[in-house]
């Protein structure tokens, strides 16, 4: 799995490639947390376009990061989830807390 972190002003964009399971959940959590600890980050965008698989270990990281962003009055967005990934996200109800978008451009356009 590859994790690409990009900081655009007060927004952290995290692009993930590969399968989001137990093996990578911990690494992803650490990488995101080391960045969002900083006060200046107000928005977290998770780009899942290249994620081919997710299970409850991956979901745990997403829900945990949502709680952190929420605690600091920040926002979180999920982008580009495939139908298979989206099904798992819907199942957990995370879509009621975190808005899902087709592409990064769609967030900018709102």
């Amino acid at each position: 799995m590859e994790i690409d972190l990009k900081l655009i002003r007060n927004t952290l964009v995290v692009k993930i490639q590969g399968e989001l399971d137990l093996l990578v959940a911990e690494k992803l959590r650490r990488e995101i947390d080391s960045k969002i600890q900083s006060q200046q980050i107000k928005n977290l965008v998770l780009n899942l376009e290249k994620v081919s698989f997710i299970d409850s270990s991956g979901l745990g990281v997403i829900i945990g990061r949502y709680k952190r962003m929420n605690a600091k009055n920040g926002h979180m967005y999920i982008v580009g989830a495939s139908p298979a990934v989206e099904k798992i996200l819907f199942f957990s109800g995370i879509n009621k807390l975190v808005p899902l978008y087709r592409s990064e451009q769609d967030i900018i356009n709102i």
Binding site: D21, L23, D55, S56, L59, A84, I88
Partner: protein, 148 residues
């Protein structure tokens, strides 16, 4: 009910092996000519059961063993058994509750996915002995084949 085909494999309790186990079961299950969506669900189910053995049963100790057995029955059903010899579950009823987890950083949705994506789920566990999860899913007769 006769077993038409089966595969049985055992591996070390390493997180690297979770993807190996689900891909292996998915490849075997594709003999059933089920849909891609079915295969995706089977992958999630195996991932959940095997991850539970690694994290909960063995508490991330990597020198332990996990066994997976997959069978295809005569009636086009798929049976998956995941077995560990870890710490076992004290209160199975509680463990099966949606969103229950003994670890606050987890979602507690593993068993919920297994139950939702399969037709049957049975959990046998003995504290100090280990846990066996047995999952079963029936697939309808492939229509194209039926008319051929």
């Amino acid at each position: 009910m006769n077993v038409k085909n089966y595969v049985r494999f055992e591996f070390k309790s390493l997180a690297e092996n979770v993807s190996f186990a689900r891909s292996c079961v998915a490849a075997f299950a594709s003999q059933l000519d089920c849909t891609l969506e079915d295969i995706e669900e089977i992958k999630v189910v195996v991932s959940e059961a095997v991850s539970n053995s690694i994290i909960h049963a063995y508490e991330n100790r990597c020198n332990e063993k996990i066994m997976v057995m997959v069978s295809i029955m005569d009636d086009r059903s798929l049976e998956i058994v995941v077995e560990d010899h870890g710490k076992g579950i004290e209160d199975i009823e509680k463990a099966l509750e949606p969103a229950f987890s003994s670890d606050s950083s987890r979602t507690g949705l593993g068993f919920t996915f297994m139950k939702s994506f399969m037709d049957e789920m049975e959990v046998f566990s003995q504290p100090g002995e280990g846990t066996t999860v047995r999952l079963k899913r029936r697939f309808k007769e492939n229509e194209q084949k039926a008319y051929a």
